[in-house]
Symmetry: C2
Subunit: 224 residues, 2 copies
Amino acid sequence: MKNAVVLLSGGLDSATVLAMARAQGYDCYALSVDYGQRHHSELEAADRVAKMLGAKEHRVVNIDLTGFGGSALTDNNIAVPQQPGEGIPTTYVPARNTIMLSLALAWAEVLQSQDIFIGVNAVDYSGYPDCRPAFIEAFERMANLATKAAVEGSTLTVHAPLLHLSKAEIVQLGTALGVDYAQTVSCYQADEQGRACGVCDSCRLRRAGFAAAGIVDPTPYRSA
Amino acid sequence: MKNAVVLLSGGLDSATVLAMARAQGYDCYALSVDYGQRHHSELEAADRVAKMLGAKEHRVVNIDLTGFGGSALTDNNIAVPQQPGEGIPTTYVPARNTIMLSLALAWAEVLQSQDIFIGVNAVDYSGYPDCRPAFIEAFERMANLATKAAVEGSTLTVHAPLLHLSKAEIVQLGTALGVDYAQTVSCYQADEQGRACGVCDSCRLRRAGFAAAGIVDPTPYRSA
């Protein structure tokens, strides 16, 4: 069995990726990051999802990004947008995926793993720059110069298997792999019970995905 | 005045870099990372150095890498080598510079800064892969695909002004810029008072640097 580090937010996409990595036969080490995100219940969802999908281990790394701020997810003075707007939304968190992938890189090296999985998507997404294929490629290239493992001949692959899938395709794929999406939390302002607002960008994309997939949306919406 | 984020460990190299960035007219935001390093007194040194060299602000981000381990600096079961050995030493910390630069990238974006400074050196160094020019270039390239700032046309530069200098040249340069190296701590196993062991790789390189520079070494050695 090969080890893989899987970044697991507790949302729909990363749960699907964990199921895919497991289906490919990897021993999965799920990594979540508590960066002070507003939607803290996603971390509880991550724990449920890791257990449900048979991760070998689930670890939560704490790193407080609220001190930097600069995002609606890490600064309570910036509101989560309720309508799609122009450009990159305020829910963008500066360098978030770079930081998370860096932590995954560290753990992967210690585990002697050559594989990191991340659930970024560049189709039905919010336009975050660190979800684009060019970013993932550049991170992988950098990672292969960064570590002792790389110097010693190990090649790291950053797998982003959802990159070119629509949200509907992701939902269909995960459903076929047995993912119970009721356990996942995507909403940026989910309440303590994990109930979704139904109107933020993340809820909007998720709802539309289930609708387009023709699969009943199991998400508990507090506004529904 | 332009803002710069300067990674500041509290050691000789990063103190020199902070002095260089200040001399170039940058408003400097010093960033240290408490990753659970064995030589914790370097963080107190970082605080002294930031004040001494007029950093606008000094911030310490906590991120516990001891859970990952894999290094003599983050796992007390791995001894710090007392003699130079073959290959990359056990003091290498998996993905450390990648993680630190990622945090610097986040802060730089919030500060609307286009400049990050890091004191890596590839001449008198321990052979760490994430101190090599190719790594720094690859990180910079990745960073310029990672952020909202980059998408909006801002170009980030990762300055590594010590990359091709010998330790003696670094000491001479810093001394000319008024750095009081007695305030810095390089030793991997400095005691609580910041006194150095004199024998670890970091001490060895530092001692040889002062000797070759013809400058009196102000380091307090506990074995001397």
